[in-house]
């Protein structure tokens, strides 16, 4: 019975393959024709350039370095540049096969290897959905819950004149102050935008044809207002395809391996300190408790469980395990009075809880860093006697 089903499935699968490939070639950007796929299966060299181009298009919005040509720029980069970019991006994503790295850079060979690479990308993650999400029109008022999409997009490179020459530390202080002020401005603007959104949502309640949404989004309301002016045909075209806000993507320090060594040093130091603190206490405890009876074992077990729970919670704080349960990607904001417990969609209250716990974790990290700085500075300053350091109040 099982065997027969397998055979039937395989037969069904074989029949479905041409359709699937046709669909794939339609949906992929710069999609090669199904004929190219077939030729690539047989490793024909003429299929290679198309596949290099396809991989370049698919990987370029995801690649971090600005070497990929954005659509806004002029002509697409040369074949060699495309090949190099694809190779480096695949390698950094962990593509296992070495054969790809050894393909010639003129892009003339290796179509079967490229087909394998495409299959690997498709198998690893929701590639098609991600491509779709990048190009779709955003109809709703979206709020990105997780920043991974925004991080994946490099954003336009900003040409900046680097400050040559030494600066005074007061310049740095000034820049920090400017940054703080900008954040404050940002927060107030954001609050205003939320208030306006709330108003628009409540004013347009009942207008949307989709029951579950119930009201219009800003884009849809704008659609109506602009359509009023008679530009209805072009209205859908004006919906902005990319409305997500970029997050702060930190610049890479020039020494990448330094982070690893730093973490290793810190962890080892921590381990030493913990051992130094725990061992004597254990010895002392054993010495005291040695003679105590079995009634302690239940209490001990309870303590162990409690501590275990605390430590597990601590571990969760950095492991972001909880984030997996939360869908990432942008969510459409919908104002709903009932807060009905049934029905699809996240509730803002839950999201707020998750964000608060994450905020607590980040605050703890920042506090800890500042404390370490303070200790280090105290140590350095203590080398100079004859000075009194008065710390600022209100900590």
């Amino acid at each position: 019975m099982g065997r027969r089903r397998r055979r039937v499935d395989r037969g069904a699968a074989v029949g479905a393959l041409p359709e699937a490939i046709a669909a794939l070639s339609r949906t992929l950007p710069a999609g090669p024709s199904p004929e190219i796929f077939r030729r690539a299966k047989f490793d024909r060299p003429e299929a290679a350039p198309a596949l290099w181009q396809l991989l370049f298009r698919v990987l370029s919005p995801l690649s971090a370095d600005g070497a990929s040509a954005s659509p806004a720029q002029g002509e697409p980069p040369s074949t060699e540049a495309q090949v190099r970019a694809v190779k480096s991006e695949l390698r950094s994503q962990g593509y296992p096969r070495q054969a790809l790295a050894q393909l010639p850079e003129d892009g003339s060979q290796g179509s079967r290897e490229l087909l394998l690479a495409l299959a690997w990308l498709l198998a690893r993650g929701p590639l098609l959905e991600r491509l779709l999400a990048q190009t779709r029109v955003r109809l709703g008022d979206e709020i990105p819950l997780c920043e991974c999409e925004a991080l994946a997009r490099p954003g336009p490179p900003v040409p900046r004149v680097e400050a040559d020459g030494p600066v005074d530390i007061r310049h740095l202080q000034w820049l920090m102050g400017k940054l703080r002020f900008q954040w404050r401005k940002l927060i107030t603007s954001q609050q205003e935008q939320c208030a306006l959104l709330g108003k628009i949502h409540s004013y347009t309640r009942g207008c949307h044809s989709d029951r579950s949404l119930g009201h219009l989004s800003v884009a849809e309301t704008e659609l109506l207002r602009d359509a009023e002016g008679g530009q209805q045909d072009t209205v859908l075209g004006t919906c902005p395809p990319e409305a997500s806000q970029p997050t702060f993507v930190p610049r890479i320090p020039e020494r990448g391996a330094g982070e690893w060594e730093l973490v290793a040093r810190e962890l080892q130091a921590l381990q030493e300190e913990l051992r130094g603190a725990a061992e004597p206490r254990r010895a002392a405890w054993e010495a005291r408790v040695g003679g105590w009876g079995p009634e302690w074992s239940a209490v001990q077990r309870a303590s162990r469980e409690a501590v275990g729970l605390e430590l597990a919670a601590l571990q969760r704080a950095w492991e972001r395990g909880g984030a997996a349960a939360q869908p990432h990607g942008p969510c459409r904001l919908v104002k709903s009075d009932a807060g009905a417990s049934g029905g699809p969609g996240l509730r803002a209250a839950q999201v707020i809880e998750v964000l608060r716990s994450r905020e607590a974790c980040l605050e703890a990290v920042l506090c800890q860093l500042q404390r370490q700085c303070r200790q280090e500075l105290a140590r350095l300053a203590g080398a100079l006697p004859g000075l009194i350091w008065i710390l600022p109040p209100g900590r």
């Binding site: 109809l139 991974c148 202080q173």
Partner: protein, 465 residues
């Protein structure tokens, strides 16, 4: 003065941070402009809105003298109450046509504008009729209010004209039947795709049952301003309808997304998932080595996580060590906590060594010049639900809290990164004594330990003599 390369790096980092902030601000301001423009037509806060209540007239309503509005308002209120009662009866009534006549008579009693007279001769289809008749009284109410207040005709017509013009420009579009038989104030209704501006009914009772309002479109000549300013318990809401083409496309879109997500939960997805994992494993094996399949970015991200772990573990350790255990149980718990922390630290170290090995073996020299988190795991790849999920919020405050938290998280991320960078660059400088060391020390302390917000004071400890 700081050394040149250090300055360059730090200034670049801070400028990056400022640019990211400025980019967010630009996008926010763009959204703000759009939202403000949309709301301006509904809430002309600057221009004085006509007040129907006996409250003192705001400036700008020229024609009627001060005494007349009050008596007119009283009359208005009476008519309003009557109409409201009628509306409630209509809602519960059975005969639709009778109501329509009633509504018409109500309207004829008022100084109707040209917009309303046009609605009389139309004959709505069956479906639209019940809808229309139910909305008639509210519309009638609105019609009585508006002219009685002496609202300049121009304003009413200007709104109507706007809709007229809008509709006229789409006159070329063909329309389905029932549309033509609406009771729009504008007789010039040609295009079915006209979205309709309609005032909301009196109160909750007058809300139409949901399935009914869809096919209808009774166009009001009412101005949104008057809707917003009606203070007789009318919810100030406007009914806009999206164009037909858009609605069709949107419903098809959501149907396809629903299909996609339902297809993902079927059994075939499990088979597909196992096939995928098998394929990936085979790829891994044939590559000639047991790699872990980790990308360079994932490795970097994990190292970052381990650094955070180290900080949090150390913080917990300091808390435990500084607490004075009051009794045996607390002592025991301290001991257990310390040992537990030690175990976790060892796990982290072990994991770090593994990552080092992965990098060395598989990815070549440590990758530099990459943005971290470019393909951040983030639970990614497991649940490809990329259809836009809904996020339901119940009040503006909730939304503001949510957004404020998101911003705060972004700010904290940025602060932590800057803190690490500044630590790495500035602490070594303080270690080497140079000119103006005290000033440097003070500035570094403020930047690193107080976020640049507070300063400490240094006093020279002069001997008493």
């Amino acid at each position: 003065m700081l050394p040149a390369d250090c300055s360059r790096r730090l200034v670049a980092e801070l400028r990056d941070a400022l640019d990211a902030c400025a980019e967010r601000q630009r996008q926010l301001e763009r959204s703000l402009r759009v939202s403000r423009r949309l709301l301006r037509t509904w809430e002309p806060a600057e221009t004085p809105a006509p007040q129907p209540t006996p409250a003192p007239e705001t400036s700008g309503e020229a024609p009627s003298p001060e005494s007349t509005p009050s008596s007119q308002d009283l009359k208005e209120l009476e008519l309003l109450t009557q109409a409201l009662e009628k509306a409630v009866r209509v809602r519960k009534g059975i005969s639709k046509t009778g109501e329509r006549h009633k509504a018409l008579s109500l309207k004829s009693g008022s100084a109707a504008t040209s917009a309303t007279t046009a609605s009389a001769p139309s004959r709505p289809s069956g479906q639209a009729s019940c809808r229309v008749s139910e909305t008639k009284p509210p519309r009638g109410i609105q019609q009585t209010v508006v002219p009685a207040r002496g609202l300049p005709e121009s304003r009413l017509l200007s709104v109507g004209d706007r809709t007229h013009m809008g509709r006229g420009s789409r006159a070329t579009k063909p329309g389905p039947g029932p549309r033509d038989q609406q009771i729009p104030p504008s007789a010039a209704l040609q295009a079915p795709e006209a979205f309709t501006l309609k005032e909301k009914g009196a109160d909750v009772d007058c809300w139409l049952p949901q399935p009914l309002w869809k096919p209808c479109s009774g166009l009001e000549g009412g101005s949104p301003q008057s809707a917003a300013s009606l203070s007789t318990g009318f919810p100030d809401r406007i009914l806009l309808r999206l164009p037909m083409a858009y609605r069709k496309a949107a419903s098809r879109n959501s149907r396809l997304w629903a299909q996609l997500s339902s297809a993902q939960t079927s059994d075939s997805m499990d088979a597909a998932a196992t096939a995928k994992t098998q394929f990936l494993q085979k790829m891994q094996m044939t590559s000639g080595g047991p790699g872990s399949g980790l990308s360079a970015a994932a490795v970097e991200a994990e190292v970052g996580l381990l650094r955070t772990a180290c900080l949090l573990l150390r913080r917990r350790m300091e808390e435990v060590l500084s607490a004075d255990p009051a009794d045996c149980m607390q002592e025991y718990r301290c001991l257990l906590t310390l040992e537990g922390l030690q175990a976790i630290t060892e796990q982290c170290l072990h994991r770090l060594q593994e990552l080092r090995a992965v990098v060395g073996r598989q990815l070549g020299p440590w990758p530099v010049g990459r943005r971290p988190g470019a393909s951040l795991p983030c639970g990614g790849g497991t649940d490809p639900l990329w259809s836009p999920q809904l996020l339901l919020y119940s009040s503006t405050q909730e939304l503001q809290t949510l957004e404020a938290l998101r911003l705060r998280l972004a700010m904290l991320d940025q602060q932590i990164h800057l803190e690490k960078v500044l630590m790495a660059e500035l602490l070594p400088l303080v270690g080497t004594q140079g000119p103006h060391w005290l000033a440097l020390c003070r500035a570094v302390h403020s930047l690193l330990c107080e976020g640049g917000e507070r300063f400490l004071t240094v006093l020279r400890d002069e001997p008493a003599d």
